[in-house]
């Protein structure tokens, strides 16, 4: 039996939206290959959310519901997914390129002795009927097309690069609650959550980001005020995070968050390749920079050449005068 399997990532009983995007892509690939689309859901008390995966395109959902699966354990999760894959022999397994997916997928790939492609932005089926994985490489300077000569093909796919499908309450499918062997002692014990993320920039529609053009940590307040007036969040380039001016949850770029807001305003950011790697797919990019030759202007829709210490207060004043905030 062949098929495409989408791993449904859930946290506290809530399905991560990347899973719906994967179902959309998985549906497309499954239809091209003429196979079924499955989803696999692991957790505790998650049976009631399985139908969502059907509404978003799955033909069949395999649910593993067990108190031991409530929080993520890469070894325990791997054991279940690899066993399912051995039974179902899928052509393709997709995971979100989230911290969880990127920790789990490699273990599954090794357990199945197959290839894994990280951080894909597209999955296609070419004229020969081969599955092609598309991923940026070298901080997005090049795009690579990758094929896998073993089965299943496994890939992690970035959040928000694919359109989520329409939720179709009319769709019917099969929900199969599986009784599986759940490993007791894996050597890993998740004790407790210590902290939430300060902000989830991957979900933000408007981001005002600041860089080394800022002179003092206090000046981030000005950026916060602008973000507030626009209904957005604050982002930062890496140096501000390394200096401890702002938490790492705000960092954008190669070693931070990859974001895709409707509006990205870069204030005092030069536009290094590592920074661009995290924001170049934003809908509209605005740059405020004193240096007309700053590379950020080359990827911007709108640029203001000027001192951010003059431009931003003016912008804040203007927005206030328009009755915002």
């Amino acid at each position: 039996m062949a098929g495409v399997i989408v791993f449904a990532e859930q946290h506290g009983g809530e399905i991560h939206p990347v899973s719906f995007e994967l179902l959309s892509k998985g549906r497309e690939v499954a239809d091209r290959l003429g196979v079924e689309l499955y989803s696999v859901l692991l957790g505790y008390n998650v049976k009631n959310i399985a139908s969502e995966l059907i509404y978003y395109g799955a033909d069949r959902v395999y649910v593993f519901d067990n108190p031991l699966l409530e929080v993520f354990d890469p070894v325990r999760y791997k054991h279940i997914i690899a066993s399912l894959a051995i039974r179902k022999k899928p052509e393709l397994i997709l995971f979100g390129a989230t911290p969880l997916g990127r920790s789990l997928a490699p273990r599954v790939a090794v357990a199945l002795n197959t290839g894994l492609t990280a951080d894909c932005i597209d999955i296609r089926v070419d004229e020969e009927g081969d599955i092609v994985q598309v991923r940026p490489a070298f901080t997005g300077n090049i795009i690579a097309y990758i094929k896998t000569r073993t089965r299943p093909v496994i890939a992690t796919v970035r959040y928000r690069v694919m359109k989520p499908p329409r939720r179709d309450l009319e769709r019917r499918g099969e929900i199969i609650v599986e009784e599986a062997e759940v490993l007791e002692d894996t050597g890993i014990k998740v004790l407790k959550k210590v902290r939430d993320k300060e902000v989830r920039l991957a979900d933000s529609e408007i981001i005002v980001a600041c860089g080394r053009g800022l002179r003092r940590p206090e000046d981030i307040r000005m950026i916060e005020e602008l973000a507030r007036l626009l209904g957005g969040e604050v982002g930062a380039s890496r140096p501000l995070v390394d200096e401890g001016w702002i938490s790492r949850d705000h960092q954008i770029g190669f070693s931070g968050n990859v974001v895709k807001p409707r509006l990205y305003i870069a204030c005092g950011i030069s536009g290094s390749p590592q920074h661009l790697a995290g924001m170049r797919d934003s809908e509209v990019i605005v740059a405020i920079n004193i240096d007309p030759s700053a590379p950020i202007f080359r990827v911007s829709d709108y640029g203001v050449i000027g001192d951010l210490y003059e431009v931003i207060p003016k912008l804040i004043e203007k927005l206030r005068s328009m009755g915002r905030g």
Partner: protein
């Protein structure tokens, strides 16, 4: 007493200087000078701090071309006790499955260990897969995206890890593997004396032959790599409007276009 910590480090090209041959799809690494993967410096620092606290030894291991020796010298200058270079034509062209397999075999060959510390990812491979894959080959647990080590003892480690919806306190029995983010520490700079010492240190060089008793040679390198780069190309930078405002009315004009774009709705 003390722990045996192993740190896999990769020798990577300075990515800003790499050239690409679009026609052949080849990446010309020889055009760029190499260095130790920046993220692996955090892994080395974490390992050395554990040694300073509990005693023991740190072994750095790298699979790469002969020049990767320089990454291992850097590791030695930063406090590593032993350095092993896996270099052989038969290792070349490895994807993450073959790389992790080769590293896991070498680690097995080394005998006993307590903890493996990997970097979050490499600047050239950029997958973050090799760490968890090594753990699966060795049948040991792993924790990825570790931003803090709270406690280490001879048989367990307590860390803070990003599981996506927040940061969690996670305990792992040893032997195990962690992959650390850049936020875990600020790597020290080696002193001149450390560098001189490292220059004279011995680096053990292993070829595929050294691994035959613990490995299946057909799983090394290009032959053992299921993923193949089929084609590479430069993405056309999405056409941006590149409209520049300057002067006294720049802000007014910016607000105007933002309204037009429907972004101030």
């Amino acid at each position: 007493m003390g722990l045996h910590v192993i740190v896999p480090v990769k020798y990577v090209p300075d990515i800003e200087k790499v050239r690409f041959d679009v026609k052949s799809g080849r990446i010309d690494r020889s055009s760029a000078p190499g260095e130790i993967n920046p993220f692996d410096l955090n892994a080395l620092e974490a390992a050395v701090r554990i040694k300073e606290k509990l005693g023991g030894t740190v072994t750095a291991i790298s699979m790469g071309p002969p020049q990767a020796e320089s990454a291992l010298r850097d590791a030695l200058a930063r406090g590593v006790d032993r350095a092993i270079l896996l270099t052989d034509k038969r290792f070349a062209g490895a994807d993450t499955l073959a790389t992790s397999y080769t590293l896991a075999c070498a680690i097995r060959k080394l005998g006993s260990f307590d903890l493996i510390i990997c970097g979050e990812k490499t600047v050239d491979g950029d997958t973050g897969q090799v760490g968890p894959e090594i753990a699966e080959h060795l049948g040991i647990p792993h924790i990825a995206y570790v931003s803090e080590i709270r406690e280490v003892s001879n048989d367990r480690i307590l860390v803070v890890s990003d599981l996506g919806d927040g940061y969690y306190l996670v305990e792992m029995k040893l032997p195990g593997l962690i992959a650390v983010t850049k936020d875990i520490n600020v790597p020290r700079l080696p002193t001149l004396r450390d560098k001189l010492r490292a220059r004279k240190a011995i680096i053990e060089v292993w070829s595929a032959d050294e691994l035959v008793d613990v490995a299946d040679v057909s799983r090394f390198g290009y032959v053992g790599s299921p993923t193949i780069v089929h084609r590479v190309f430069f993405p056309s930078e999405r056409g941006r409007k590149a409209i520049i405002f300057r002067g006294v009315d720049a802000v007014d004009k910016l607000v105007e276009v933002l309204i037009e774009e429907g972004l101030l709705g």
